[in-house]
């Protein structure tokens, strides 16, 4: 018990001393008060003794005066007896201590008078009183008038002689007893004053010593509290305690509010803190887990792996309607006191940076793999050509988006939009396959399939275009990745060897001869796919000084013409052989600047030429014209049909033909630049397409080259 008081021992002792002091003063006070009360009785009775001396004398004289009157004599004698007895008893009581009667006739006890002056007065009074007392006793005892008169006379003589002296002695006794009483009262005052002074001193000791000590303790506590607060304000973790009801304690680290978007967690249930931020299942498991921690029979280290919030993603709504995503790690540790599990300390770590870093690494790795795959798909392409292709692609995406953006409820306009998008995609696909950029070509092919499917729909709504927008977005995304890679490659090549031929040309540079090799490759690929043999001879492409716009167009047209030549004109090798032709067909593509400044592109092949009858039968199949009308179509009229959208003479639909798009694109593009197209064909011998553009065509038609912008 005593040891349990600890630092409070001193204060307990002080208070105990204070109480003992108070009790002592109080006891003395009682003691002296009683004594003073006794003294007061003494003083009173001493005063009465004075009065009794006089009454005795008076009774003696009254007795004498009553001589002959029996009644009066009797009264006076009784008075004398009473007075005599009272004086005698009281004097004896003062002298030896003993009982006497007070004014009310009650018995009181007097203590022996011990003071010197008091003793002197009593002793002298006793000497005087002895004969006086004897004389009075004789008066009282006298029988008969004569005896009475004689004893009375002798008593009166003694009274006359000693009365005043006895009165003085009794007066001295009274004064002395008064002085003793006064002295006692003074002692009492001193004791009280001393006691109060000691009590005040004790109080002051308590006040200064212990308050100082308490203050020091408070300061110590305050410092300790401040240290705790400083720690809680500084740590990077969110710290808080959970009680058995899973209620969060009052103290927590500042970082906690920061982690949970400014939420004040004090007094909240754990579920209220994280309930909205994690999946309900995770919350339930977490609560079960914490409850397990409060069970003493469960080993903490055995269940630590069960912590469902070891790494958890939370999404905190922000004021702008968005979410702040954080990755948190919750650690739960038991807090025991005297062997009893009191709380669970929860440490919340914001591991967003680590998680993001790991994710970034993962993404980088994945991107690296993707880029490697992409790199393989573009490595064969000339950087300059690739750059031009990418630019063309973005231009095409911009145009497709523009078509999508155009709003109309009219079915005809919707169909036209589909056609226009199809043309763009088809054109893009052509260029991609010419450059053997197979991924692009495949993307475009799927895109085309979806457009074709929509075209079959009888009723079109705006919503039907959604999948086209999704395709467009995917293509843009893919192209952006390729562009990023191509830019890196170009800058790498440039940094490594500025003189290298693979250097990316600027927009206004003329392309090098290698930039047209893809046309030769295209010819080979299409021939291979069609099981034909064809050789492409390019003339004048390297020499003609043309700007970027012209290059783009020449490229587009050449791709279309060469592909058409292989697919539609060049015959299969055995067929050619049977006709006496070389098994390998020849396609001559020539680009030249005419003396007039006009730009001329001609593509000539030694194939079967235009099959007018095939066009005629296809025209009949379409059902747009009646049979008689179609049969009357001249070659010129039939030729014009191949420039109609959706018109194809190919037997099968594949990557190179059969979509009925190609020649209409060519026509459209030529018109765009005010060009003219001339077709010459001799059945079974050859076919030639010649396109001529005015000298100033490309100067006036600046194409928006804003790369990558779709709006």
């Amino acid at each position: 018990m005593w040891s349990a008081l600890g630092k409070y021992k001193a204060i307990v002792v002080s208070i105990a001393l204070f109480l003992i002091l108070d009790a002592s003063v109080l006891s003395l006070n009682f003691f002296i008060s009683f004594k003073i009360a006794d003294d007061a009785v003494g003083v009173n009775l001493a005063g009465r003794q004075r009065m009794l001396t006089q009454r005795t004398v008076k009774s003696l004289y009254d007795l004498r005066l009553a001589e002959g009157d029996t009644v009066k004599q009797e009264t006076a004698l009784n008075e004398l007896k009473t007075t005599y007895n009272l004086f005698n008893t009281t004097l004896t009581a003062f002298d030896k201590g003993g009982e006497t009667k007070n004014a009310n006739g009650e018995t009181v006890v007097l203590k022996r008078v011990n003071s010197d002056a008091g003793r002197v007065a009593i002793d002298e009074a006793k000497i005087i009183w002895q004969p006086y007392s004897d004389a009075i006793a004789k008066v009282i005892a006298a029988s008969g008038t004569a005896a009475m008169a004689q004893s009375l006379n002798s008593a009166i003589v003694i009274a006359g002689d000693k009365n005043l002296l006895l009165l003085k002695l009794m007066n001295d006794l009274t004064v002395n007893l008064e002085q003793v009483a006064t002295h006692q009262a003074t002692v009492l005052r001193y004791i009280q004053t001393g006691g109060i002074t000691l009590a005040i001193i004790n109080f002051l000791i308590i006040l200064f010593h212990f308050i100082g000590e308490l203050r020091q303790n408070d300061k110590f506590l305050e410092d300790a509290r401040k240290e705790t607060t400083d720690i809680l304000d500084t740590v990077n973790e969110g710290l808080f305690l959970l009680d058995k009801d899973l209620v969060i304690g009052e103290q927590q680290s500042s970082q906690l509010a920061e982690i949970f978007g400014g939420k004040d967690a004090r007094g909240l249930k754990f579920s209220d803190l994280i309930g909205d931020l994690v999946k309900p299942k995770d919350l339930e498991t977490a609560q079960r887990f914490v409850n397990l921690l409060f069970r003493p029979d469960v080993k903490g280290n055995l269940i630590s792996d069960l912590n469902p919030l070891n790494q958890v993603e939370i999404n905190i709504p922000d004021e702008d309607g968005g979410y702040i995503t954080r990755h948190l790690s919750f650690e739960f540790s038991r807090v025991s006191k005297d062997g009893e599990l009191k709380n669970v300390l929860v440490t919340v770590n914001d591991i967003t940076e680590q998680v993001m870093l790991a994710r970034e690494l993962e993404e980088t790795k994945e991107k690296g793999e993707q880029q490697l795959e992409m790199l393989t798909s573009i490595l064969h392409a000339n950087p300059g050509v690739l750059k031009r292709f990418i630019q063309n692609a973005f231009d095409a995406y911009g145009r497709i988006n523009k078509i999508l953006k155009e709003q109309s409820k009219s079915p005809a306009v919707m169909q036209r939009k589909l056609n226009d998008i199809f043309i763009e995609v088809h054109n893009f696909k052509g260029e991609a396959s010419a450059l053997e950029l197979d991924n692009f070509a495949e993307y475009a092919h799927v895109f085309e399939d979806d457009i074709q499917a929509l075209k079959q729909q009888s009723k079109l709504a705006g919503n039907d275009f959604l999948k086209l927008a999704v395709h467009l977005e995917s293509l843009i995304r893919y192209t952006e990745s390729i562009k990023e890679l191509a830019d890196k490659l170009a800058s790498f090549a440039f940094n490594q060897d500025p003189s290298s031929s693979v250097r990316s040309p600027t927009n206004h540079e003329n392309v090098t001869s290698s930039d047209w090799k893809h046309l030769t490759k295209l010819c080979e690929n299409v021939s291979q796919r069609d099981k034909k043999q064809a050789q492409l001879v390019l003339t004048g492409f390297d020499e003609a000084k043309i700007n970027d716009d012209a290059q783009k167009l020449v490229n587009e047209l050449s791709i279309q013409f060469i592909r058409n030549a292989v697919v539609h004109s060049i015959e299969h090798p055995e067929f050619r052989k049977a006709r006496g032709k070389h098994e390998t067909g020849r396609i001559d593509a020539r680009l030249s600047r005419l003396p007039t400044g006009e730009l001329e592109l001609s593509v000539h092949d030694d194939g079967c030429g235009i099959n007018y009858e095939k066009i005629r039968s296809k025209a009949l199949m379409i059902g747009k014209w009646d049979k008689a009308e179609v049969e009357k179509f001249t070659h010129q009229q039939l030729l014009s049909l191949i420039f109609l959208p959706g018109f194809s003479t190919a037997d099968n639909q594949n990557e190179d033909a059969g979509r009925g798009v190609g020649m209409d694109i060519i026509k459209k593009r030529i018109d765009q630049y005010q060009g003219k197209i001339k077709v010459s064909s001799s059945s079974g011998k050859h076919c030639q397409f010649t396109v001529t553009f005015p000298a100033d065509a490309f100067a006036q038609n600046e194409i928006d080259t804003q790369q990558g912008k779709v709006a």
């Binding site: 999946k279 309900p280 999404n315 709504p317 922000d318 004021e319 702008d320 309607g321 968005g322 979410y323 995503t325 988006n401 999508l404 953006k405 155009e406 709003q407 409820k409 919707m414 939009k417 709504a461 705006g462 919503n463 275009f465 959604l466 999948k467 927008a469 999704v470 467009l472 977005e473 843009i476 912008k709 779709v710 709006a711």
Partner: protein, 149 residues
């Protein structure tokens, strides 16, 4: 992002209009915009999305459409406060529809309503958004979806 995901948000708007007295609503042809120039009418209700896809979806409409729509749902008070509430309600319907379709994996925020275009905070700058025009009576509005995987 798949067509199906986009369709859920579009259906959210259509659902809202279907609860009004004038149900006739048409969806226009969707297109893309760069986020650095967001498309917006007078008022815009934005919801934040997190989970497998992250980003924002917003419904934006001109004041005239919203005023007319308020009258169509029997509300005579067409003050700005009511208009803002209405935009928020449409955005809420989109959010509700998305919640029911995507389930718990998607976190969808409470709508925030702004005047004009959403700020950059809502739209990642280097991404594109899908714009889906929505026509109701003679008015045009739009759902704009910007989500990244």
């Amino acid at each position: 992002m798949s067509e199906e995901t986009l369709q859920v948000f579009i259906d959210g708007v259509i659902n809202y209009f279907h609860h009004t007295s004038e149900k006739e609503v048409k969806v226009g042809s969707p297109y893309l915009i760069e986020n650095n120039s967001p498309a917006a009418f007078d008022y815009t209700g934005i919801i934040g999305i997190s989970g497998p896809y992250r980003g924002s979806v917003y419904f934006t409409a001109p004041k005239a459409l919203l005023t007319h729509l308020l009258l169509a749902i029997g509300e005579k008070d067409t003050s700005m406060e009511y208009i803002m509430d209405l935009v928020g309600e449409v955005a809420n319907t989109i959010a509700g529809n998305a919640r029911s379709k995507f389930g718990q994996d998607f976190l969808i925020s409470v709508p925030v309503v702004v005047e004009g275009a959403p700020s950059n905070i809502h739209l990642p700058k280097d991404l594109r958004s899908y714009v889906i025009p929505v026509y109701w009576r003679a008015y045009s509005s739009a759902v704009v979806i910007c989500l990244e995987a």
